[in-house]
């Protein structure tokens, strides 16, 4: 597959002076001995409102602007960042510092390294934002959140909380190869959850996802998810869970809702196909991967229903962009095709080390952090079935929705997920509610047991946003997207108890 975003002019929202600072930093890094350098000036606004039990709890606004510079000396990298550079001198000092750090890296050197070629682009990209979230009156946003939490609280839950967030990020990128790229991305999201307390237990329900739904969109996303329409339902379900029977333990047929599938893809596929992990660059912290590069193109990852794409071009998805943070234009790529592993998330250096011809998945959490291999939108293409068909075809199984806990080993093999709610499935019918549903498995074995895949019904396949993907040292929080639909798996162990 091959699609790409339309490259346009530098967005007017990106300050021209930001390019001057980035250019000065790159020039200083080159003058200090770097053979390659790039610089980003990032200006990010963030706004969040939280409500609890009918009252606004927090209203927070942040502005973070700064300069981050990468310098490559020989085969050693250095990165330096400075908040709010005051002018050319600050920018040049930061560029020179990046080169000095790279020289220090050479004290413990690695093998020779090159960068895969990327045509230097001069242009820009903006996400589509129909309604600027920062222009929506704070009072209106606060009223939405207080309203839904008041509704849930009145319905009898112990705790009701809701959250809205928005980011406005303007980036000027300059490289020593001649790239000059401006991007303006607006991201918006919201969600709500409630808790009920029983005798020694806590139950939780959330909507539309356990941390909310997010996208590279404006406030129209918040209006579309329509929190008020779901507040009573999740409050009622949360209370019903207290008296529901426990999810049984044993091996069974498992049907997962689309939101839970998004985290399943994120954890057991997305992270596993990160090339820095595969190469061992994350061995001490994030971990490695069970995938072996020598099997790229031949390894069976899952059943033939499994088609996973790396696609930063999906309109409105949270992992979408025009260019990654080393200036590579966004392009869609296969990661798994008919169950066979065929692609990775790569950067210019890691791709060169691996002998692969493509990069495009390097991103940074703001100006102060080093760009590194990150997920963009890693999603499972829709299948030929519907959720109703899956349930109707299941004699004995469990249907689970909405993530509650997640854990996976450092090779991305052994996972265990807990969900908020489950239902017994008997003779093709969704039966009684089950509490504390959980399941566990081994990645490739689990994916090879995928025997039905939803998405055939309108609205079943959605691009879910994950605004809290942690990776890197110092720590970085990534925003990723995962298009998924409900799916069915056979012979899965459920009901793991502590």
């Amino acid at each position: 597959m091959s699609t790409a975003n339309q490259i346009g002019a530098v967005p007017a929202a990106v300050d021209a002076a930001a390019f001057d600072a980035a250019t000065a930093a790159v020039q200083a890094a080159l003058a200090a001995g770097a053979r390659y350098a790039d610089a980003r000036v990032v200006d990010r606004r963030h706004e969040s409102i939280t409500a609890r039990d009918g009252d606004v709890r927090t209203l927070d606004q942040t502005a973070s602007v700064g300069l981050g510079v990468r310098a490559l000396v020989g085969s050693s990298w250095g990165f330096a960042a400075l908040g709010d550079p005051a002018g050319d001198a600050d920018a040049r000092r930061t560029g020179a510092r990046a080169a000095a750090i790279a020289r220090a890296s050479a004290a413990v050197p690695g093998p020779p390294m090159e960068l895969v070629a990327v045509p230097p682009v001069q242009g820009g990209w903006s996400s589509t934002c129909l309604e600027d979230p920062f222009a929506v009156p704070l009072a209106e946003k606060a009223a939405l959140l207080t309203g839904v939490t008041a509704t849930m609280k009145a319905a009898g839950v112990a705790v009701a909380e809701a959250l809205y967030q928005a980011w406005d990020t303007r980036t000027a990128f300059v490289s020593s190869e001649g790239a000059r790229i401006g991007q303006h991305v607006v991201e918006t999201g919201a969600g709500m959850h409630c808790l009920t307390m029983g005798d020694g237990e806590t139950q939780r329900r959330s909507y539309p996802a356990f941390r909310g739904q997010y996208g590279t969109r404006g406030f129209e996303l918040v209006r579309e998810i329509d929190l008020p329409a779901h507040a009573d339902r999740i409050a009622a379900e949360c209370q019903e869970l207290l008296t529901a029977p426990q999810c049984p333990s044993g091996d069974t047929t498992l049907v997962l809702g689309g939101e839970q599938m998004s985290l399943q893809v994120h954890e057991s596929v997305g992270h596993a196909i990160e090339l820095d992990r595969i190469l061992g660059w994350e061995a001490a912290f994030a971990g490695t991967s069970w995938l072996d590069l020598s099997q790229l193109g031949s390894l069976r990852f899952g059943s033939e229903l499994m088609n996973v794409t790396i696609d930063p071009t999906i309109p409105g998805a949270l992992g979408s962009f025009g260019f990654d943070d080393e200036g590579t234009p966004a392009a869609a790529r296969d990661a798994v095709r008919e169950g066979v592993w065929v692609g990775v998330l790569a950067g210019r250096d890691s791709a060169a080390v691996a002998g692969l011809p493509y990069a495009g998945s390097v991103r940074a959490d703001g100006w102060a952090r080093l760009p590194m291999v990150r997920m963009t939108n890693v999603g499972l293409e829709p299948g030929p079935h519907t959720l109703e068909e899956m349930l109707a075809a299941t004699d004995d199984g469990v249907y689970m929705e909405h993530n509650r806990s997640w854990s996976i080993d450092d090779r991305r093999l052994n996972f265990q997920f807990g969900c908020e709610i489950g239902w017994e499935v008997k003779d093709g019918q969704r039966g009684r509610m089950l509490k504390n549903p959980s399941y566990t498995g081994i990645g490739p074995r689990f994916w090879q047991s995928l025997d039905m895949l939803g998405g055939a019904a309108p609205g079943e396949w959605k691009a879910w946003g994950t605004p809290n993907c942690g990776k890197g040292q110092p720590g970085q929080t990534g925003h990723t997207g995962h298009g998924t639909a409900p799916a069915r798996f056979s012979g899965v162990r459920v009901g793991v108890r502590g």
Partner: protein, 451 residues
């Protein structure tokens, strides 16, 4: 990078008075942070970063409880006026916060923090030397990890007249050595780079990796365990974030029973910012003293900020943070007291049959009330029989209540306390947890490499 933090704080308070009037209540916190981290993999430095910033935080309350918070890295006069204007506009638009606790009462902090200039000014070459020492210490094995130095200076001022200043530094060495599928780990966190012995860490990680080759699976089930300090760190982090966190008590998700003999008498836990790498005051300006959490197995304390403290009818313990409204007030420098169990080897010698666990990974709460967590072992597990390590074991999944793991009669506490890095709520990325090894009567292994 040098900035006059006191002048910045004064400028913001001046803007507050000018724009919001004398009745407005405001707390300004100006942070100057520098963080440098050198990462290595395959025994080579592959990522090497440094960043510097000044961040101005403002909390503003008008009309007796219309509150808003804001922060910016733009620390110039015009930007500060904009910061105050935007925060004031936001505060005036929102409803009154019925739980707004107001500003704190002025109280002097108990120290100025522990700031080591040599650590604050450590060069990339010094961090690279630490990496080289770790690599050499591992004796030829492939290695990966990082060396970090960080410094933080904070000035806090408010409209009630408080003006506080504190500073701290920290240094971390953390790495693994790798040998044919086996990883061994060693890590340490101190307040001074000079106190890190990266060569010793490398040697320890190398020895662990060599002892972990040819691991075999064991069946799921309940095992007695000896948890090394790295693993105990996770257990303590889980308890302080989920159980002793005052917000969890307010919400009802904590299973703590204050005053009951809920833990083994050998367990004594405090939060001790002065003994760790914490600042002398929290984000609300409350002094950060020593907070007793468990005394001889009895839970006796909680961590609170002003809002949570008011809800519980207490005074703040000094655990306010920028993320407290979401995650609650959490101990930043927890310390588990040493016991009489001796070294790790002596704890193992007292085990008839069980497991020696180096490290835990990707632990997540399954049942908050019972503090049931699932996660995996990492960087080495060994089968112990008759007090002797008999075989390395492959990665295991557990699903275990941390509260029940420390129940009366279940715990022997080691005698050697180590400072370990972990991620809690620290402004510099990592917190320091001081813990000994533990021997626990039962640990619920629920899966292995086969599933």
């Amino acid at each position: 990078m040098t900035a006059d933090l006191d002048a910045l704080a004064a400028a913001v308070l001046g803007e507050v008075r000018r724009q919001a009037g004398p009745a407005a209540q405001a707390t300004v916190r100006v942070e100057q942070a520098a963080l440098a981290l050198t990462r290595f993999a395959d025994s080579a430095i592959h990522q090497n970063v440094a960043d510097e910033r000044v961040t101005v935080h403002l909390q503003l309350a008008v009309d007796g409880g219309r509150t808003a918070t804001a922060a910016t890295t733009r620390a110039r006069p015009g930007a500060l006026a904009d910061l105050v204007a935007a925060t004031l506009a936001a505060a005036r638009l929102r409803p009154r916060d019925p739980d707004w606790p107001g500003l704190g009462t002025p109280a002097p902090p108990t120290s100025a923090g522990s700031h080591d200039p040599a650590t604050a000014e450590a060069s990339p070459a010094e961090r690279a030397a630490g990496v080289a020492a770790f690599v050499e210490g591992a004796g030829g094995l492939s290695t990966a990890g990082f060396v970090q130095t960080a410094s933080l200076t904070t000035v806090l001022a408010d409209t009630a007249g408080r003006h506080l200043r504190g500073a701290t530094t920290s240094a971390i060495g953390d790495g693994i050595a790798r040998l044919t599928g086996a990883d061994g780990v060693a890590r340490a966190m101190t307040g001074r780079l000079a106190d890190l012995d990266c060569a010793a860490l490398g040697a320890r990680a190398g020895a662990k990796a060599r002892a972990g080759v040819d691991a075999v699976p064991v069946d799921p089930g309940r095992y007695a365990v000896v948890l090394e300090p790295a693993a105990v760190t996770d257990l303590v982090a889980g308890l302080v974030s989920g159980q002793f966190n005052g917000k969890a008590v307010v919400d009802g998700t904590s299973g703590l029973r204050l005053g009951d003999q809920q833990f083994d008498p050998a367990v004594t836990l405090v939060d001790d910012p002065q003994g760790g790498v914490g600042l002398p005051f929290d984000t609300e300006g409350t002094p950060t003293g020593r907070t007793e959490l468990v005394r001889d197995g009895v839970p006796v304390g909680l961590t609170t900020d002003r809002r949570v403290a008011a809800a519980l009818g207490r005074t703040s313990s000094g655990h306010g943070s920028d993320v407290g409204s979401t995650w609650g007030p959490v101990a930043g420098d927890p310390a588990l007291s040493a016991g009489d169990g001796g070294t790790v080897e002596e704890l193992v010698a007292g085990l008839d049959r069980g497991l020696l666990v180096s490290d835990l990974w990707y632990t997540r709460a399954v049942d908050p009330k019972r503090s049931v967590w699932t996660g995996l072992t990492r960087n080495g597990v060994w089968l112990v029989e008759d007090g002797q390590v008999v075989a390395p074991v492959s990665t295991l999944r557990f699903t275990q209540s941390y509260l029940e793991a420390l129940a009366p009669g279940a715990v022997t506490v080691g005698s050697v306390v180590e400072g370990q890095p972990t991620r809690l709520m620290g402004p510099m990325g990592y917190n320091r947890v001081a813990v000994p090894a533990l021997r626990l009567a039962a640990w619920n292994v629920t899966g292995n490499a086969a599933g």
